[in-house]
Symmetry: C2
Subunit: 205 residues, 2 copies
């Protein structure tokens, strides 16, 4: 249905907000989508969205059918002592991936990103703005440029996206057979160096 004008909250209002968000994210990408635009498309008051969702991130997670709240996870990662950031972030990913239906949902997400430019755009913007770039910016304090933080976040993203690809999509045997803890033990120091290490040769050097 296509509601005319604003309408009160109803049993299907939540579903209509999600449908409107899906359409907006697909049309505009993650970065350019606003809660106001979603509300307009759904024919509801913007304040009503906050009745159902904490914000754009959680709505995006709902649209891409990931059963997690990114904000809660990132807040947990950022509360970790700086010298354990890499390990904590690596462990968080396996916790998400190994959640109920995690593998199936991420498989769908990955395949969409690989085969549809719209999906790739939404997902890369979400990863850069809300996950990897955000942790890298927070880890660097004041003295890190946005550009360096973005590159650091991208290196961490490459490591974890590749891990998920081999473990859940392509099925690389040694990676499938390893325990999550063994993989975390190896990936943690890599993420630590990318996110926190001093020695990054930045793009401006």
């Amino acid at each position: 249905m296509s509601p005319r004008g604003r309408r009160p909250a109803g049993a299907d209002t939540r579903a209509e907000i999600v449908a409107a968000a899906r359409a907006e994210f697909a049309e505009r990408g993650y970065g350019a989508t606003s809660l106001r635009g979603i509300a307009r498309r759904a024919g509801v008051d913007p304040a009503l969205i906050h009745h159902y969702f904490q914000g754009k991130q959680q709505l995006f997670a709902e649209v891409i059918a990931i059963p997690i709240d990114p904000e809660a996870i990132i807040t947990g990662i950022l509360a970790t002592p700086r010298d354990r950031l890499g390990m904590t972030m690596a462990r968080a990913f396996f916790t998400i991936w190994d959640s109920p239906d995690g593998k199936v949902r991420f498989l769908g997400l990955f395949r969409s990103a690989m085969t549809h430019d719209d999906a790739a755009r939404m997902i890369r913007e979400f990863l850069a703005a809300e996950i990897f770039g955000r942790v890298a910016r927070a880890a660097g304090g004041q003295e890190r440029t946005a550009r360096e933080a973005d590159l650091r976040g991208g290196l961490a993203a490459a490591q974890m996206i590749g891990m998920a690809t081999l473990r859940y999509v392509v099925g690389y045997p040694a990676i499938v057979e390893a325990s999550a803890e063994d993989l975390v033990a190896e990936l943690g120091p890599t993420l630590q160096r990318y996110l926190v290490g001093d020695n990054l040769r930045g793009p401006d050097d």
Copy 2:
């Protein structure tokens, strides 16, 4: 056409060998495909395959339309001093990816692996046997178990597959904008630690 029995070398023999190889790799996967089986399917003598191709690796590269000879590249990597293995391997990947049509060809390959189980199987077996696992086994000398070498190779594969995914498929901005040399400078130490470092917590610990 479907030749009956063995036939002499002709103008289209090379193309028929490639077509037979494509069918065998798809049916059996990389590991279980033999030059003998390809020859049988193509209706040629196995020796004739060696007239056109150096072996199974090169035939696989032809089937997946990668304009490289994996053997030459791996031989070059293995000839590098052990303390520069990570940098050399990281640099070799960008050289391949930045070769003529490299991006387009790898995009096709990645999308196949993401969406077709047959392609995923061929590619993961090829990567494990001939690229990452092979370098990890060679880098470890005698004292490394096959299982540890395979895990080390898998970690390196995850890093490089993720990098290719973000740079060429998903288009993660900070990774697209970085120069190949800047990325090599960051990825080299990661590959070095995975392939050569002493401190791997193996799956048997």
